[in-house]
Every structure is written in C-alpha cells, then in structure tokens.
C-alpha cells in the first residue's frame, strides 16, 4: 500500500501533468546550461592536464659518461618524491628520434661522421609538477649531478602554463558559482509556480488540522522528483549536444559520471529546498 505522502505526490503529478512538466522543463534548462559549462570545464581540464603531462626536465649528459654513473643518476633521480619516471635516451636513440621527427635529417643521417646528439635523461614529474617552483627544484637537482652537462625544461613556457591553469581555476569558480546561483533561482521559481497553483490544498490542509510536517512531505517529494527528472533531462540534452559536437571535435571527452550523478542530485536537492521554502510561505498564510 502507498503511503499518503507518496499517494498525494503522485496524485498531484497526475492532476497537473502540464505544470509539473513545465517545472521539470525549466529545471532541465537550468541544469542543461550547467551541464554545458561542466563539459567545457572538464575538457579544459583534460587539455591542460595533457599539456602538463608532457612537461619534463631534460638533463643532457657528458659524451663520456659511462653506464655506471648513468645508472646511479637515474636511480638517484627516481628516488625523489617529486619525480614519477626517469627515461634514459642514448645518443643513438636521440638520433633515431630526430630522424623520425625531422625528415630532412633522415637524408643527412648516413653521411654523419659523428652523432651530434647528446645522451640525455628525461625526467617526468609527478602529477601537478607543472608548478614552476617544483620544476626548478628538480632541474637544480639534476644539474648537480656530475655527468649532467646541461638542463632544459622551457621555463618561460611552464610559467605561462601555470598562469593559465590558475586563471582557468578562478574563472571556473566564478562562472560556476554564477551558474549555480542562476540555476538555483530558476529551479526555485519553477517549483514555486507549481506550488502556488496548489496553495488551495495547503490552505485546506491547514484549515482542517493537518500537521505541518504532513503537509510538507508530499510537496518535498514532488519537488525532489521534479528536480531529478529535470536533472535527468538536462543530462540527456547535454549528451546530445556532446554527441553533435564530438563529430567535429574528436578530442572532446564526456564529463565524468560523478559529475552527472552530482548534477542530478543537485536538481533533486534544489527542487526539495525550493519546495520547502515555498510551502513554508503558504503555511504562514492560514
């Protein structure tokens, strides 16, 4: 048997499907905008991360460095907490890579009397290692190794990347907060309209002596339901938009499932909150 709360909530949806649909539609549109913003934010993060993943410190070695000092240098650097991986690139391998990446070198290759490329150590930093200060520390450590002749990591480029990361972080927070406020207001208005249309029921319930908690429950349930349905519809719309854009931008990635669940849950929460506020207002009238 259904509880009175569920029965009343379902009855309300049945009696005014258009109004409920409109409310859910408004919630969906508000969350759809948030979903698009989330997609852009996520892809920006992915792009920045992939660039950061390519940040590496390259330590060029003396031509005469023997295997033992090289192995020791690799081991010392890998023992550091801020280093994820150290890759040794021999002179031959460096030439091979250069030939593969620069076709004009391929023609010259056979005529070279001596390999002009030095051996090197590619030092990959741990996640978040794009911090210029952290990179400088690793670069200094590498430079201090006797067999290391020179260290390069594109300092200016790393500085810019770091600045871009910080700027993106602030922009996402500010714009995200603005979207959240606007979304919450739209959801609140949609739910208030739906509840205003049923103020007579609240009035009569108060009149005949229903307890406030009893009056509230179906409305809270209905608000949560409207929010969740709106959230699910917003997810659908965002997915369709993503699919359409994905045809032109193959690198575009779909937002993490935790964000999707969080968005739908936010819809339900805001729906319930808006219902609570609106019902409270009507409860005071009698």
């Amino acid at each position: 048997m259904q509880s009175p709360t569920l029965r009343e909530a379902l009855a309300a949806l049945r009696r005014a499907p258009l109004l409920t649909g409109l409310s859910a539609g408004m919630v969906a549109l508000a969350l759809f905008v948030a979903g698009l913003f989330g997609t852009v934010t996520h892809n920006l993060q992915v792009a920045l991360q992939s660039v950061e993943d390519r940040v590496a410190v390259v330590a060029y070695l003396d031509d005469g460095a023997g295997p033992a000092p090289i192995d020791r240098a690799v081991a010392d650097l890998e023992a550091r907490d801020d280093v994820r991986e150290v890759r040794y690139v021999s002179q031959d391998r460096a030439l091979e890579i250069a030939r593969a990446e620069l076709p004009e070198l391929a023609e010259l290759g056979a005529g070279l009397a001596e390999n002009p490329f030095p051996a090197s150590l590619e030092i990959v930093l741990q996640d978040g290692g794009a911090d210029p200060d952290a990179i400088a520390v690793v670069a200094q450590a590498a430079a201090a190794i006797p067999i290391v002749e020179d260290v390069q990591y594109g300092q200016e480029w790393v500085d810019r990347l770091h600045a871009l990361r910080r700027l993106t972080g602030v922009a996402v927070m500010v714009i995200g907060a603005a979207f959240a406020v606007v979304g919450a207001l739209i959801i609140g208005t949609a739910i208030r309209i739906a509840i205003f249309a049923r103020r007579d029921e609240i009035y009569i319930m108060r009149l005949v002596g229903a307890k406030d908690a009893f009056i509230r429950r179906p409305f809270l349930l209905e608000g949560a339901f409207t929010g969740v349905v709106g959230g699910a519809a917003a997810t659908g719309l965002t997915w369709l938009t993503y699919q359409t854009l994905h045809r032109f931008l193959e690198d575009l990635s779909w937002i993490p499932s935790t964000w999707v669940v969080g968005g739908i849950a936010a819809g339900g929460f805001f729906g319930m909150l808006a219902s609570a506020v609106a019902v409270r207002r009507h409860l005071r009238e009698v």
Binding site: M1, P4, I204, R206, V208, G209
Partner: protein
Amino acid sequence: MIRFIRVTKEYASGAAIEDVSLDIGKGEFVFLTGHSGSGKTTTLKLIHLSERPTDGEVRVAGFSSIRTTPRDLWKLRRKVGLVFQDFRLLPGRTAMENVGFALEVTGSPPKAITPKAQRLLSQVGLASKSERPVEQLSGGERQRVAIARALATEPLVLLADEPTGNLDERATRGVMDLIWEINALGMAVVMATHDLELVRRYASARVMELDQGRLVYDSSGVDRAVTHTT
C-alpha cells in the same frame, strides 16, 4: 467553549475588533450579525486562531491565543470546523475525495476513510452524489460537501462565514436546516450572516451584533435557551 477577554484586533487600516468580551457555551447556536466590515469575519478568524488578537485573549476549547504556538495549531483546528461562503472545495475532485482528503490529512486510518466519508456525505444528504466532481454539484450541494468536510474531524464547534451568501432561497433553507440539525446533536455553531430574515426565522438562536468592531448587542441577556424549532 469560546471566550473573548477584552479582545482587540488591529490592522494597518484600523481596528477590526475593539475591546470585545464574550462567552459561547457548548452546544449554543449563535448568529453573528452586522454590516459588512463590522468585524464578523475577523471574529471567526480569531476563534479559529487564523488571526491573533493585538490585545486581550481568545480561549477556544482549552486553547489560548496567548499560549498556543503555531506548531500546535493543528490540535485546535481539529476541534473547530469551518465553512465559507465560497465553499473552498478542491476542484477536480469528487465530493467523496474532498471529504476523504480532510480525513486523510488529519491522520484517519486508510481503511476508515471511505466508510466515514460516505457516512458524512449521507449525513448532509449527498450519499447519491458522492462520486460526482464538485463542479457538477449545485451551490447548495457544494456547501453540504463543505459542511461534511468540516465535520470530518468531529469538531466541538462549527464556524460558518456567510454559508448561505451564494445560495438561492431553497438551497439556503436546506443548508440552514442541516446546520440546525448538526447543532441539535450538541455541536456549537457560530454563524456570521448579514441576512436578518434568516436570523428572524431561527428566532430561538442567540444573536450577537457587531458594529464597527464593537459588540453592540447580545441576546443572551434576553434569553439563552435554544429550542430547535423554526
């Protein structure tokens, strides 16, 4: 049952009730008369505690306007039934659903709702029309549904604000006879009306007259005995 102790109710526009004291006992039938704006509806709202006095105290069925918190209002509301001139029924629902709604939201056991709603509708003479949407009922029939709903919680007192104001002569008589019968079963009735013809027809009821918020006449000093004949 109902006691006003030097009650004043002021709004921004002025005093609606001014220094009114009155006593209404169990089972009494009281007509509250007066011109529009004399304070009849405000008096009913004060009894129902939809409004609180600006000054003085209202006591109803053991509840005080001073001590009763908004959280506890529901307890009072179950002891005070209320009917309006415009019925205030839920549209799109049948007579049975309107009465059943009141029973359900006040915590009646689910199995008891339909039989009790049916019994209440029989009491007001609408057993045969219980499944009709209220929009398909006449004005008099709608008021009967509203009365059945007001009786759902078995209140001690029935407040009626111009309950015949929208009804024709025949419907008025039917609704009045019904309320009179309910009173005869022991429930106190306080009915606001400006229809003096109605008051004359039920001459054995107590009459209070308000004028500009003041109680200017109370027939209880003349004769408090109610005999149920019209």
